[in-house]
Symmetry: D2
Subunit: 304 residues, 4 copies
């Protein structure tokens, strides 16, 4: 099987390599020359333009997009005129699932098939394989099977056709919401042990022992154990946590579906909170306490 990978960032480049290791022929394209060069240096074939990429692929073509969410529509608009009926486009990035149906329809007008693929596994996917949640038509997915088997951790495990167009990205969105909650649960637990100074706990040791036989064993714990081993005090890291959108979508979706999801929601809010400095809310609280109770307010320029 042969396919074109569009977007050679952290995810796309690694996936191209894993596909090649799996015996597939992959040609990669990225607007950045540096990204193309990195893949070439790793032994991958590259094309210098979308046009060149499309021409390099045999018909019917398979194009796999691993581009930022906001780039999917522009790339599609550029790509579709180059494609022919029977070609297939996979959106493997972190797109909002609600865009999938519209994009499938847009592709359908050109008789191009569209599959949305939620992709989990991060930078470890190259070695450990990716988890792939796919939405779309069965016929389209059947054509992707060799690629899915190569990308997944094992041929028959780690990819699934979860439903119609949109269902793949929907499951990935929920996956990330759960991920936020799990991460926050671990983070709170380790912070609690770190604060309990009387026991002088070795957090890396605790994380390591939990990896074996405990109820909380998980891959995120594996990573945490490794990180705490390497940098027990988490020195040099700012307490500043980004979020990349799926968490917000999950929270909004839960509210819209009227499902109470307090833990996923609070996990997102804690990330927002981590990025607030000089919180207005907290200053108003301090002022209110002073206002009715005469409690002293800590001055802004006092040290911690």
């Amino acid at each position: 099987m042969e396919l074109g990978m569009i977007g050679l960032g952290r995810m796309g480049a690694n996936m191209a390599q894993r596909l090649q290791r799996g015996g597939l022929e992959v040609t990669g394209f990225d607007p950045g020359a540096e990204a193309r060069a990195r893949l070439a240096a790793a032994g991958g074939a590259t094309a210098d333009s979308l046009e060149a990429l499309v021409q390099a692929l045999p018909s019917p073509r398979v194009l796999w997009l691993m581009v930022p969410a906001e780039a999917v529509d522009p790339v599609l608009e550029q790509l579709l005129p180059l494609l022919a009926p029977g070609d297939l486009v996979v959106d493997g990035g972190n797109s909002w699932y609600r865009h999938a149906a519209r994009r499938a329809q847009r592709c359908g007008q050109a008789r191009v098939a569209f599959v949305d693929c939620g992709t989990s596994g991060g930078v470890w996917g190259l070695e450990e394989g990716y988890c792939l949640m796919l939405g779309g038509e069965a016929a389209a997915l059947a054509r992707l099977r060799p690629a899915l088997q190569a990308l997944a951790p094992a041929a028959d495990r780690g990819w699934a056709h979860v439903g119609p167009v949109g269902a793949g990205h929907f499951c990935k969105m929920v996956h990330n919401g759960i991920e936020y909650g799990m991460m926050q649960a671990y983070a709170e637990g380790f912070a609690l042990m770190q604060k309990k100074q009387e026991f002088e706990l070795d957090l890396a040791q605790v994380a390591e022992v939990w990896r074996h036989g405990s109820v909380v064993r998980s891959w995120l714990l594996d990573l945490s154990a490794e990180a705490l081993q390497r940098n027990p005090g988490l020195e040099g890291i700012a307490p500043y946590v980004q979020d990349s959108g799926e968490g917000r979508w999950t929270v909004n979706e839960a509210i819209e579906l009227e499902v109470s999801a307090p833990v996923i929601t609070l996990s997102l809010l804690e990330r927002l909170r981590s990025r607030e400095s000089n919180s207005f809310a907290d200053r108003l609280l301090a002022q209110m306490r002073s206002g009715f109770g005469g409690h002293a307010v800590k001055a802004a320029n006092d040290g911690p």
Copy 2:
């Protein structure tokens, strides 16, 4: 009616004055000479020692404690040997309600009556009157009626015999839990408006208009409007919010009674959060994201 006020801090001194304005005879005692001097300067009678205070009062005596929670037991132990059967002790401070029954029993051994009184109103109580929630025996409360009528905003309103010993401080504890939740709700709302820069809202104006006819009008809003008027940007105030115990008791009580109280609970947690610097949890979250997703971590010494 005549009574002795023990503890002449922010609350006790003001209450002594309000009682005097209400026509009662009050003698105040505080271990601090300065506190005694302040009351004396305001025209109040003072005693230099617990012994002197007790001797200055006619039998049967009424002693009103407005001391820090941790001082109640020591003061009681010092006081009880000086008292006579028939005397009455009121604990008007922020004591944990679970101590009340034991203290009532301890007093009972000396045939001294004990009343727990939850007191709300803060520094404004001197002018506006205090809200008093009382627990204990009806006979004991009957003796306090002139004092209660003088302390409350109106003779027949603002004090209540809510139940047996402990019930007064229990209601005050819950009152403070609610207070945390209300404060946090306002703080979040004003913070949201402050962040919405496109409308250039004048928060003092919004607070002021809400005071008249809106569903969220309240005394805490009155205070907030006044504070935002005086200092619209809340300049000079650190985003650092103390808590004085009742919120924690409320949260623990809710868990013990198996009542889900998420808003009161989160209000407490936000106060804890406001005092955390360099959160270990947030650093671990940032590290985890980097660990699986390759997302850059913000360095600790980067600016905001």
Copy 3:
């Protein structure tokens, strides 16, 4: 001053009456004959159609919309062709603030002025006056002054020009978010007292005493005290809490502005939770506990 009130539901009909009491001439329209008849019975003037309403008003006209959020656009489309340059439309309902700019522009094309007005006060507004937060041009607001003074609790208090178009509904949205948080705080506190059976607290009494001098006194507390007085066990009321949209908008807005608002958010989630029956999440939790710990699961058809 003369104006037309469109929408004679709970809010519109009462506002029409308060305006009339304030000396203004009001003609009301509602598509429902019954609603028109109710206002007529209360002595108000009514029109049988939008056309009739517009014709009944002197130029330049003032039309005040109190219609459901989803009806604003349809009514506007019907109304605008009937209006003349210089007329003024007020949207006084619970519209999402983001629609205001578009509507103002749409009106502007017809040289009709547009003002968004967040209205608080509920069914008590007729007697106590409404709190009005207004967004729009100063000139348009100046024309509304007599109406605002009549609707507000006092001529010069309870209405404010808070910013440009959209700002009025934005402030009302945040107001409702705060309202959710305050309500939830009270609800949790009273539930805690209700569960504390050993003190046999009289919740109506506690609510009543808090109304006088306490830190948590508020209008919502006044209502709660009255409700608990009337129905101490809240008998006959299902534990089922609706929400009407502003809370969701507030939560989404907070996330978009990256302001952590846990209490407002959790207040919304508790309302969603109150409406869930046979929660799938809780069943999965029970199953998981059984799965790893061998803990018995409660069977679905067991009683409570």
Copy 4:
């Protein structure tokens, strides 16, 4: 090595068997004849009384307690007079870590060593091994090494000496707090997918695919996948989630240490919430909405 296992419930009986399989000699005791019979039927040695158990063991003895938290003190009081200096007691149950120091001291008076051991793994531990977090003196732990190696999933992995007396149960407590958070995160995510009817997701399939290569893979997910496979609709299970104490201890500890742990806390609260029926708080909320907004209240006897 030889040891006595006291308490032959789900955990103790399985641990006795795993120790035997690992080549250790174990004699079990339980006050319940049935529990003893079960172990005997599985080929284990049992004693009919604590006295018989103690006499059956060679000196210096090792006694391993797997009894409910509230039984530890009574059992210890019965056991200590039967022991001799040099004996060793392990508390392997879910005890509150704050009791460990006192118990160690109590044992120390009899020159008996005391080790607290947090044990994770549940009913799967027999086959997969247990995760063991131990607090106490190094010398005591050294004597336990053969037992620890047999109980853990692999000789050198899955047990750790995490600190002084109390540290073992402390780590187990935090472990369970994290477990609550992870479980709740999964539960919310699956509930969201279940509610999203348009995609007709097969939750067992999604859980299964996530097990391979995804960021959220974990042992709890393995269990969930298996449960959803067996009973996709979770039929017959009440949405009623028990908690067994460690979560509460974790929440209280976090508050006491002033660590904000919203996700662990909310996970506990959701369990409390799952067990509330006819929530007073929600009824008061519904009543308040009706009180100010005239919104209809759902009657208590209406269907869902």
